[in-house]
């Protein structure tokens, strides 16, 4: 009996050891095959990347490692040379990223829009307002709860921009709370607490059924949400896989893929989640 116990354990351990060697082909994979794509959570959470990445991998033979984080973190990865290509939506920060020499070839890919969502009872009475900065100013004036991402994401950058345009500094005020979470989780927190928040339309649409929150402000020009693809500068970081990064950038702005982006989500939500923009004049 005693012997048995040891034997079972030894056999199990040896079997597990063998499994490592046999089942991780990645040990031998050539490094140049890997492409690290740092992107925002909205592209992953909406399911868009699940459609695009397999096509790219099949076409080019590269293996894409998608790291879905906020735009701020994605650019921080780029600044350390820890990503090859970025798909982000934080124009002001992107321009600084390019100006500082961390990235090259910044191309416009697509857009959708941000919306201000809140409880249907709308305690601050912002429903239907045409100006987003005015709406947030009114939310602040009424002291109605506003949930911020607070995570340096593209959405958070846009939200800070709105406060600036409204001439309100919400930091440290009682009505203003920061979740530090992704868009989906922040929407859930806002729904639970009956607060307002700024969200991208795609994430809101995909979560809508469980939320019980309404779109209150939309359509303002300042609420445009533009996505760019950026190749991380290989001259600054020799380990960056520049050929793969370029191939990916070319891929997302190609005609076929742009058409795919324009159709994505129509079957599920009745309208597209993203609108293709490649080749259009880019003011941002």
């Amino acid at each position: 009996m005693k012997r048995n116990w040891t034997r079972i354990l030894v056999v199990a351990l040896v079997a597990m050891g063998l499994m490592t060697g046999l089942t991780f082909p990645a040990f031998a994979a050539p490094a140049q095959k890997n492409l690290i794509l740092a992107t925002t959570t909205s592209t992953q959470d909406s399911g868009l990347l699940d459609v695009l990445i397999p096509i790219f991998e099949k076409k080019t033979g590269y293996f894409v490692k998608t790291i879905a984080v906020g735009s701020g973190q994605a650019m921080a990865m780029g600044q350390k040379g820890e990503a090859d290509v970025l798909l982000v939506h934080s124009p002001a920060a992107e321009k600084k990223f390019i100006a500082d020499g961390f990235g090259i070839d910044r191309l416009i890919v697509m857009h959708n829009d941000f919306i201000i969502v809140g409880p249907p009872s709308d305690p601050a009475g912002v429903k239907g307002m045409k100006s987003a900065p005015e709406a947030v100013r009114q939310i602040a004036a009424k002291g109605a709860l506003f949930l911020s991402r607070g995570d340096n994401s593209g959405t958070h950058a846009k939200e800070k921009d709105l406060w600036k345009k409204a001439g309100v500094n919400p930091e440290g005020q009682k009505f203003y709370q920061q979740t530090g979470l992704g868009m989906g989780q922040t929407l859930n927190v806002a729904a639970e607490k009956k607060g307002y928040t700024l969200a991208d339309r795609g994430t809101y649409l995909s979560l809508k059924k469980n939320l019980g929150m309404d779109i209150l402000v939309e359509g303002d020009k300042t609420l445009l949400n533009i996505y760019h693809v950026i190749v991380v500068n290989p001259e600054k970081f020799p380990k960056v896989n520049a050929p793969a990064a370029r191939a990916y950038a070319d891929f997302v702005v190609s005609k076929d893929v742009q058409a795919l982006i324009g159709k994505f989500g129509v079957d599920k939500y009745g309208s597209p989640l993203f609108f293709p923009d490649a080749g259009k004049p880019d003011n941002d």
């Binding site: 009996m1 005693k2 116990w5 040891t6 079972i8 354990l9 351990l13 597990m16 050891g17 499994m19 490592t20 089942t23 991780f24 990645a26 040990f27 490094a31 890997n34 690290i36 959570t41 992953q44 959470d45 399911g47 699940d50 990445i53 490692k65 998608t66 790291i67 879905a68 350390k80 040379g81 820890e82 992704g182 868009m183 989906g184 989780q185 929407l187 859930n188 995909s206 979560l207 059924k209 469980n210 939320l211 970081f237 380990k239």
Partner: protein, 232 residues
């Protein structure tokens, strides 16, 4: 409540229909956490035994460090492992970040102090006289240590369970060093986080239920081995 029932139904459905993606994620979870536990057993039991039996200056400090290590948040381990594995970091030339190997590494770091701490306590609890008696019967030092480990095997199996339970349920380090890449480094916990973020609560609950089912089965097997010998 309805949502939870819905999730449990979904879990069963995903399992009985052998959903290839869920099976892949489950298999990767078990493999990664199993291997991480396996490596942590070697280092943890060795470390625990040495510290339990040896007397040296600063021993108390080492014991305190091991005990603190048992409670280190996985996300802190994940952060440090990430910094080391960055391609411009000290271990960057291995190209390990965002691979299953990176998750195994991080989880082994998390599990090792747990295994070491429990080993330490269980070996130390053995009566001093036993050690002397084994040596008196003519055993070599290596044989003596082996006998002691065998003698402490019941609590040591508890160490295996605690270590495995700690890493298979861990999410912070896995998502940081693995990146939650579909079909490659996506494990049950990171997939649960992602599906929650997507608002697919039923799938998130289903993944949670699958995780519970498998950890229960593994713990039941280990407990079976542990308790079998009791009435000697």
């Amino acid at each position: 409540m309805e949502l939870i029932l819905e999730g449990i139904k979904k879990a069963i459905w995903l399992l009985v229909t052998f959903d290839p993606e869920v099976l892949g994620i489950t298999w990767l979870s078990l493999k990664v956490s199993g291997l991480a536990t396996f490596f942590s057993l070697f280092i943890g039991i060795s470390l625990g035994t040495v510290v339990a039996l040896a007397r040296f200056p600063g021993r108390r400090l080492v014991v305190s460090l091991i005990n603190t290590g048992m409670g280190v948040p996985p996300v802190v381990v994940g952060l440090f492992v990430t910094i080391f594995l960055w391609r411009n970091g000290p271990l960057g030339f291995f190209e390990l970040l965002y691979t299953p190997t990176a998750i195994i590494l991080a989880q082994a770091v998390i599990a090792t102090p747990i295994v070491a701490g429990i080993s330490l306590a269980s070996i130390q609890k053995l009566p001093e006289a036993l050690r002397l008696q084994i040596l008196a019967l003519g055993a070599t030092r290596v044989q003596m240590v082996w006998m002691l480990i065998r003698e402490a095997r019941l609590p040591l199996l508890a160490a295996v369970m605690a270590g495995f339970g700690g890493v298979i349920s861990e999410v912070g380090a896995s998502i940081m060093v693995g990146g939650n890449i579909k079909g490659y480094t996506r494990v049950l916990t990171t997939a649960t986080v992602m599906e929650t973020g997507k608002g697919n609560f039923d799938i998130a609950i289903a993944l949670g239920v699958i995780l519970l089912i498998f950890t229960f089965c593994i713990n039941a097997i280990l407990t079976g081995i542990q308790q079998r010998e009791r009435p000697r």
